[in-house]
């Protein structure tokens, strides 16, 4: 995040421009809008928003919450209490928060309330490709969709004004490409917004019986928003000439500008409610209108419902995966795109893998050996399903491992293991663990406790003893928690003690009644692990009998020499000791010096 002293901008007397990620621009916009409460749970591609706020704009009071529902509810409280509030999550996070989200619009807000839904077309880091614009529609709240980093900043600011003007939560929908691209962003100062007075009103904020009375207000608000959409600054038309027009939104607008630079465009920055008249009038001017939107035919179906028939959309451009200029070019018949070189040569893939020295490796090696049925969860450890381990058999959503394991057990799988990370366990593993005990399950739960939220790039959580700003925080005790849920058999084990891990899991699996194994060892990507001053391990060839035992721990840092000896890549080795533990001749030792 660098401030650019741009000579051109000085000439044009423009504001300071910063090279920002879409997510950093959102953080900046929220700060400028005077936000004083932020909550969320890490999830790609939304994580950098709160990370940036914590690092650069702590006066927005950011926090990592236990899960997205908790974050949303905290946000509701803060907003009706009078604060400008931002809540962030990835698309599937809104599924978790949906219970809170669906009722909030009835009450309306007080301080501005904006939430980010970071969708993931292309499923770069997600288990599905859901298009959350339908969620916004179901909740009957306005949806803003920026098209670049500058608009990420601008739209967040505008969203707060919109929220307060129409007394409604506002969804800002981004996508992976928006969230994770960088552009030059003009920035401004922070607007200080004082807390609005909270007037307790049971007719708005409590007593379900009054909800019936609030119901018509939701429709009245939506009608006002429909009217606003027709002239709002988020929607605009460029180049009115020609026989062909384009209706587009979000990042796809940029691809349209690349591929059809001279074509008439109606860019929709507000995609719910949609402007019926604007769309009808625009489409009436052209023979054909392309509707170019990533994801589902959200705009297209609305246009069809309005009787607009001269459109071409999903039949041409498709619903699956990310769009790109090349994809549009091909779909429009404007030329073919070069393909990767694969003729006469092997384009070897680099599939994802658990890091060298990752503490999950020993657990998956043990599970593979024990031949148990394993219900997995969301985190780096989904890679336990891949070779060489192939020791994880289901993955669905956050916290699903435990419930799935209970069901698998009922379906006749006798030795069932649920496997979940520490952050995911706290996020949504606790109710199913209570349920497993209550309904007499005999499952084994392995908590992979690496003291962080690993997959999203190491964020603290309630059991790490740190808050979002790196300050000391109360530390949740996972052992006591599991015991309180009714699990008597709880064992903590060092995840890099290979034999101990296998023995403990075997015992837990054979135990009658539920058992929890907490496999403890910090994530190797945490600074305290990455920058340890410990030398790597090395092989003494004179002692090596080439028995290959070390190769069977599947560590990617162990390579083979031309003479068939193992050799450990010193720059990759994390000194986890696992290969040294299996060597029968003690030929693997700490390298001297460093």
């Amino acid at each position: 995040m660098e401030t650019i002293q741009n000579p051109k901008s000085a000439i044009e007397n423009r504001a300071v421009r910063e090279l920002l990620l879409g997510n950093q621009a959102i953080a900046r916009g929220a700060w400028e809008a005077g936000v004083t409460f932020v909550a969320g749970y890490p999830g790609t591609p939304s994580t950098e928003i709160i990370e940036t706020l914590a690092k650069r704009y702590p006066d927005t009071d950011p926090r990592w919450s236990t899960n997205e529902k908790v974050a949303f509810e905290e946000g509701i409280g803060a907003a009706i209490g009078g604060l400008r509030t931002l809540v962030t999550m990835k698309h599937v996070g809104l599924n978790v928060a949906a219970d809170a989200f669906m009722v909030f619009p009835y009450a309306g807000t007080n301080g501005g309330f904006v939430f980010i839904s970071a969708d993931d077309p292309g499923m770069h880091s997600s288990q599905n490709e859901q298009d959350n614009r339908y969620f916004g529609q179901m909740g009957k709240v306005p949806i803003l969709e920026p098209s670049d980093a500058q608009e990420c900043r601008d739209f967040v600011k505008a969203a707060f004004d919109l929220s307060e003007k129409f007394n409604t939560p506002v969804m800002l929908r981004t996508t992976t490409r928006l969230a994770h691209h960088k552009g030059l962003v003009e920035v401004g100062p922070r607007q200080e917004v004082s807390r609005r007075e909270f007037i307790p009103d049971p007719r708005r904020f409590s007593v379900p019986i009054y909800r019936k009375a609030l119901r018509p207000q939701v429709e009245e608000r939506l009608e006002a928003l429909r009217e606003y959409a027709e002239t709002c600054p988020f929607n605009f038309i460029e180049h009115a000439d020609g026989k062909v027009g384009v209706v587009t939104s979000s990042i796809a607008y940029q691809y349209v500008k690349e591929v059809l630079p001279e074509t008439a465009v109606l860019r929709l920055g507000m995609t719910y409610p949609l402007p019926a008249k604007l769309l009808r009038d625009f489409c009436a001017r052209y023979e054909t209108v392309y509707v170019i939107e990533e994801g589902e035919p959200f705009i297209e179906d609305f246009m069809l419902s309005q009787g607009i028939a001269n459109i071409k959309g999903k039949d041409l451009f498709g619903v699956i995966g990310e769009y790109s200029p090349g994809r549009l070019r091909e779909a429009l018949g404007l030329g073919s795109i070069p393909q990767p070189f694969t003729e006469e040569i092997v384009l070897l893939p680099r599939p994802p893998m658990l890091c060298v020295g990752c503490g999950h490796r020993t657990v998956f090696a043990a599970l593979r050996q024990l031949k148990v049925t394993v219900a997995g969860d969301i985190g780096c450890y989904t890679m336990g399903a891949l070779p060489p381990f192939e020791a994880e058999h289901t993955t669905f959503c956050m916290g699903a491992s435990i419930g799935t394991a209970v069901g698998l057990e009922k379906a006749g799988h006798k030795k069932v293991v649920a496997i979940i990370g520490d952050s995911t366990f706290i996020h949504s593993g606790i109710p199913p663990l209570i349920d497993a005990v209550y309904n007499s399950s005999s499952l084994t739960l392995i908590i992979l406790d690496n003291s962080t939220t690993g997959m999203t790039g190491a964020q603290p959580h309630a059991a790490t003893g740190q808050n979002v700003s790196g300050q000391e925080a109360p530390k949740l005790n996972l052992v006591s928690l599991c015991k309180a849920a009714g699990v008597e058999n709880v064992t903590v084990v060092d995840t890099w003690q290979r034999k101990e891990i296998t023995k403990t899991i075997r015992k837990a699996v054979n135990h009658k009644g539920p058992a929890v194994v907490i496999a403890q060892g910090p994530c190797v990507q945490l600074p305290e692990m990455k920058y340890r001053d410990i030398p790597p391990y090395t092989v003494i060839e004179e002692l090596c009998t080439q028995c290959d035992a070390c190769f069977k721990v599947w560590c990617p840092a162990i390579k083979r020499t031309n003479l068939n000896f193992p050799v450990i890549a010193g720059n990759e080795c994390t000194s986890c000791t696992v290969c040294a533990q299996v060597c029968p001749t003690e030929a693997i030792v700490l390298a001297e010096g460093k």
Binding site: G183, P352, Q525
Partner: protein, 200 residues
């Protein structure tokens, strides 16, 4: 005319391809260009393919580079050069390759099928490929990790970005304790490509 320069940076997680893409973006922005940058990487922290797209010009819309349009593909590893070479403009673009091999650790038997001949192969396909032993050069300078900065030194000879903007980017983005070495690495890369005859 609004000429946009598209660049594709490719490497293996941990090699620093994202960092040199950022340095290039900062340099281009300092030189007064509009810029867009985006990266695509898998779920693994290390060992996966990392691709970063950078586009700069008077006005840039898409952050994504389209195959066939790149002014340069900058590959920090030979297999990654092969994976992303089709992004280069086959008539006017250049593929800059660090002659360095990283065998995929997560594929069993990868060493047996690794395409050692990727540079020759791409030249046979008619692409303009310049190969540098950047990792070895960086090692000789005292730190093998600086191979990435040697590569943008070489890249800088091919782009309309002034030297002062590159130097500014290095000074803005790199920690001061690594600055001296990296300025030397950058200059080494510049000289290496100027010496190298162009074309394949």
């Amino acid at each position: 005319m609004n000429k946009v320069y598209s660049l594709m940076f490719a490497g293996v997680g941990g090699q620093g391809s994202l960092l040199i893409a950022e340095l290039t973006s900062i340099a281009a922005a300092h030189a007064g260009y509009d810029i867009k940058q985006t990266e695509v990487h898998g779920v693994s922290q290390r060992g996966g393919s990392v691709e970063t797209h950078v586009r700069f010009g008077q006005k840039v819309h898409s952050p994504i580079v389209t195959p066939g349009e790149a002014a340069a593909v900058i590959a920090l590893e030979k297999l990654e050069a092969l994976r992303f070479a089709h992004f280069v403009n086959p008539e006017t673009g250049i593929v800059l390759v660090n002659e360095y091999e990283i065998i995929p650790g997560s594929v069993s038997g990868a060493a047996d099928v690794y395409p050692h001949e990727s540079i020759e192969y791409l030249r046979e396909k008619g692409l303009n490929v310049s190969a540098l032993p950047a990792s070895q050069m960086a090692h000789d300078l005292g730190d093998g990790r600086m191979a990435n900065v040697i590569m943008i030194g070489a890249l800088s000879t091919q782009l309309p970005i002034p030297e002062a903007s590159w130097q500014k980017a290095l000074r803005t983005r790199l920690p001061s304790r690594y600055l001296k070495g990296n300025i030397l690495a950058f200059a080494t890369g510049q000289q290496a490509l100027q010496k190298e005859p162009m074309g394949g």
